[in-house]
Symmetry: C2
Subunit: 351 residues, 2 copies
């Protein structure tokens, strides 16, 4: 029996709706398995800017620091998206939270669900059986390097840096994940051009002997962007730096056929954060059409993180059950028309 | 009647084979239309390292400076690819040539050929009719920024910089291309994170009023990586910086169903360079199976560059004719088995 404190950051757009269903499922898990989960709702994103002027209020940050895990819906609002040069923006809250909590590894599974092959833009025979786990470095690189203007504002720079220690800590995680899977790790970099990539390659290569059962290979990011579409089944675990991971993991998401299915975990030395990979999708807000599955599967990763393997698998099986029964939101099956809440309740009930 | 000097850099792997066919087609064009093309063969890439120790010998560079255009096959050899940290590498030659010739705009058309829809990993109904023109900045950004190590080699950095002038010159070209096409320009950036991206957005936005017939929009690179696969027909002209362009343009190439079909032009204020987007494909070297069409279509772009519109269209029609007649290399139709030379000769004959 576990007692855990979970901070919920519903965020903007459809965030609150999908979070509500993930919390519903987590409550069902707690009841069935006899755990105690406490949910502490806090503000982050555009809603936090509106309420406090800051995308990540100190109250929220403190709560996250003290929590056992953080569940995030989505952040972003068109009024900020249209002007990425505005001084205060929702995504600053997310970037700061990642840094403050030391969430250096973003982990994204990409799976082709048999029931949903027809939804993918890719031909079924190319993607069937795809099962990739992407490790994206999340607190370094060009995201957090020095940036600014010079030459009276007419030139700009962004500096990308990586240290051996930053690379090693996430590489160890990726190697260990590969050990429990199909024993293949692919480092995606641009070592023919970038010095940071050469450091990545050197560092990862030096760790490889510690994981003799894992076959390590390397792919330039441009080639990786092709291979992920041409032959996704060739990949087991992919490891890459922050910016390449942002691009490659979003690209890979098309395999699943819907953004509404893909969860993610961001982990570090202490706290961990779980969120669907989709955005706040403001056009869908309040319509009951948002797919809660990505957030529910993120909650399953949260259970994994607590060491609750059986509980996590129960949630994943319940999701499979919903997909099998076509209890899904309209983007996956226009004929059935279940609402966000109905899908969430069905899955919670199946737990 | 034109008289032109063309430097040919056959390069490595299949480079010489595909260049031979493009030259054959250019000779046929010269004969039919009464032009004089002189071909000057020079070394670049792994073959140049083997012969001279340098991937871009001064002799080659001088010849390129004096030429009216450069036709490149492909560079790269496994003996260098496996170690991107080696001090002398084939791609250094290409990067230096781009910089020395001032080839700041890499232009890549991506077309879904009706005859080849079945070859694409994407479903035919998603891609049919796709016609994208990608403008990738080629002499700036993180490719040419300061890079190095610090902290006794345990940390590395790559600096990305852009100036307003660097952005403007390629943006003007992209706007002008959009004016002659479907009047849509999409800037791909990461303006929610990068200062250089914010400068791109600001600069391109300021030019937009000069092109009132062109609708300008913006896409974050992670979203673009999805949209190119989910709905490629939404794009007309795409403009982006060097590193994003490297990734996005290779990704987009999967739409065509074969790398062997896609040409590119790299242009600047003076000289221009034309090359297929595929690599040196050393496994196929000497087997007569390399598809020469990408290089032949690059030669068509070279004719465009000379202002020879009718000649260029004649080459493109000849290529269409080969595709219609299934006179193609085995990767496009395992049943027919034409060789590289047979495909090239067929197209040259059809000119
Ligand atoms: C919102 C943005 C800053 C963020 C990122 O680029 O990391 C998002 O795209 C993501 O992948 O979580
Ligand atoms: C070989 C390499 C340096 C080059 C690049 O990244 O520009 C290649 O990938 C390309 O796109 O022409």
């Amino acid at each position: 029996i576990l007692s855990k404190q979970i901070v919920v950051l519903p965020g903007d757009g459809i965030g609150p709706e999908v979070c509500a269903e993930a919390v519903r499922v987590l409550r069902a898990v707690a009841e069935r398995f006899g755990h105690e989960f406490q949910f502490d709702y806090q503000l982050m994103g555009a809603c936090a800017i509106d309420a406090t002027g800051s995308p990540l209020p100190e109250l929220t940050l403190d709560a996250c620091h003290q929590a056992d895990a953080v569940l995030l819906g989505a952040i972003g609002d068109p009024k900020y998206d249209n002007d990425p040069t505005a001084p205060v923006r929702p995504e600053q809250g997310l970037l700061r939270l990642r840094k403050e909590l030391g969430l250096y590894a973003n982990i994204r599974p990409v799976t082709a669900y048999d029931q949903l092959l027809e939804h993918s833009p890719l031909k079924a025979e190319r993607i069937q059986g795809t099962d990739i786990l992407i490790f994206r470095e999340l607190t370094g690189g060009v995201y957090f390097g020095e940036k600014g203007r010079f030459d009276e504002g007419n030139s700009a720079y962004d500096n990308c840096t990586y240290s051996r220690a930053e690379i090693e800590r996430i590489a160890h995680r990726a190697f260990r994940a590969a050990e429990t899977r199909r024993h293949k790790l692919t480092l995606v970099d641009k070592a023919n051009v970038l010095e940071t990539s050469r450091l990545w390659r050197e560092t990862v290569r030096q760790l490889a002997p510690q994981y003799p059962s894992v076959a390590l290979d390397y792919l330039f990011v441009d080639n990786a962007a092709m291979q992920i579409i041409l032959n996704p089944r060739q990949f087991d675990v992919i490891l890459t730096e922050n910016m390449f991971g942002d691009i490659i993991s979003d690209e890979a998401s098309v395999i699943a056929g819907s953004l509404g299915l893909l969860p993610s975990a961001s982990v570090g030395d202490g706290a961990a954060l779980f969120e669907p990979i989709h955005g706040s999708y403001p056009q869908a807000k309040g319509k009951g059409i948002a797919n809660p599955i990505a957030t529910i599967l993120s909650a399953a990763m949260l259970l994994d993180h607590f060491g609750l393997q059986e509980e996590a698998d129960t949630v994943r099986n319940a999701v499979q059950h919903a997909l099998n029964q076509q209890v899904v939101t309209p983007e996956l099956n226009p004929a059935t028309r279940y609402t966000t809440e109905q899908v969430g309740s069905f899955i919670a009930y199946a737990v």
